[in-house]
Assembly symmetry: C2
Homo-oligomer: 232 residues x 2
Amino acid sequence: MAAIRTARDRARAELTREIKGEARRQLGEVGANGLSLRAVARELGMVSSALYRYFPSRDHLLTELIVDAYNAIGEAAENADPGPGTAPRRRWLDIWRAVRGWARQHPHEYALIYGSPVPGYRAPEDTIAPAARVATALLRVAGSGPLTPAHPGPPLPPELEEQASRLAAGLGADHSAADMARLLITWTQLFGAIGFELFGQYVNVVEPADAFFDYLAASMADLVGLPDDGTD
Amino acid sequence: MAAIRTARDRARAELTREIKGEARRQLGEVGANGLSLRAVARELGMVSSALYRYFPSRDHLLTELIVDAYNAIGEAAENADPGPGTAPRRRWLDIWRAVRGWARQHPHEYALIYGSPVPGYRAPEDTIAPAARVATALLRVAGSGPLTPAHPGPPLPPELEEQASRLAAGLGADHSAADMARLLITWTQLFGAIGFELFGQYVNVVEPADAFFDYLAASMADLVGLPDDGTD
DNA sequence: GGACTGTCAAGAGCAGTGCTCTCGAATTTG
DNA sequence: CAAATTCGAGAGCACTGCTCTTGACAGTCC
């Protein structure tokens, strides 16, 4: 990566940051659908066409915000992990809570990455690595010791056995296919629950969802077989 | 409800149906964001302003489509249930598959009801009863016999205990709070998994998700404690 | 039967959108 | 210093949801 040289480059980098910042601010207020390039430009005192010197289209700007959001929620998860010195269930719960906390603080950004995709929008390559950070953090905890699920669970269909093995290998994790499948369940559960809470499905059901969420995190720790350490 | 009387009323009812039909068709093609009143009117050979005689705003039209979608997925779940004469795990799996099947056939409608809500849009009262139909169908299966979870699971926080009891009472179900909490987990899991599949999170993970989904349904049947009957 | 009333589709128009193109000015480069 | 590049501004296109007015029609009351 070349260092910033000329004054023009410097101004360009700064303006790019400002545009993204203002866009993120508006995203938090009006959501992805309501994000308007003209409004961003207006707020920055420029004209809309000038924005196209920095982002070739609205989708490109959105993509950058998506990558940022994946990184932010992933970083929240990583920072919440107290590390290998701590009991696994404690780490697990801390990460779950941090992910939920970030989502509740940034509902529109969460919707951007885990809600229904913007129609016609296809996630580019840049997003897949940042998107994996939360899952990786959870996987780290699960891989820190032996998994001892209380219940063997249903048998794995051959197709799933193969997918789970390949996935574990691809991630460099030495979990069995059954362990991996159980981890996939908990991964789905984490974001399913946050989505339900944020998108209003828990209204009149389990709202506020704080207690249910903790219970859910503990249940999923049971399911993957994190060793009991008195955290709950 | 008064019967349709005059020719004018008849024409009005028919046009209302036609508008909704065309809107649903376009929804399936371009998604909720892309749904344009002008395009609907154009396709119907009328002018956009005429639509406002039938639906006071775009949001009102969307709301009707949302109610329809909730009813459609609920009906799919209900129709898939072979009924009390069949083994509970069989019924459970059939319902899960039907819900997923409907979602895959109508991804945009699914996104409309279980994706991120359209910004600034607040679900009106009319949607809550239809929205409960899938959950009710699953609850019926769980209530058809004794639940015997293999694993007691973590203790319920007092707040959740109270919420779950109130929820069971409100639904006229005689499940314990712990059973109810476990059912909530599976309910979340069902829609979490479908959302992940539809919105692309399972790409390069467990795609195709058929095997994983069946495994997931069985795991959740285990979790709620549906009696084993050799279905898996 | 004729007048009245409410309903209807159509059209023009407003304020907003994403995006493209051109033009003159500023800045960097050779 | 001159050439090349980059920049912001502005006009303009095709589109959106929505409002208001206009003129035609149907149903109803006298």
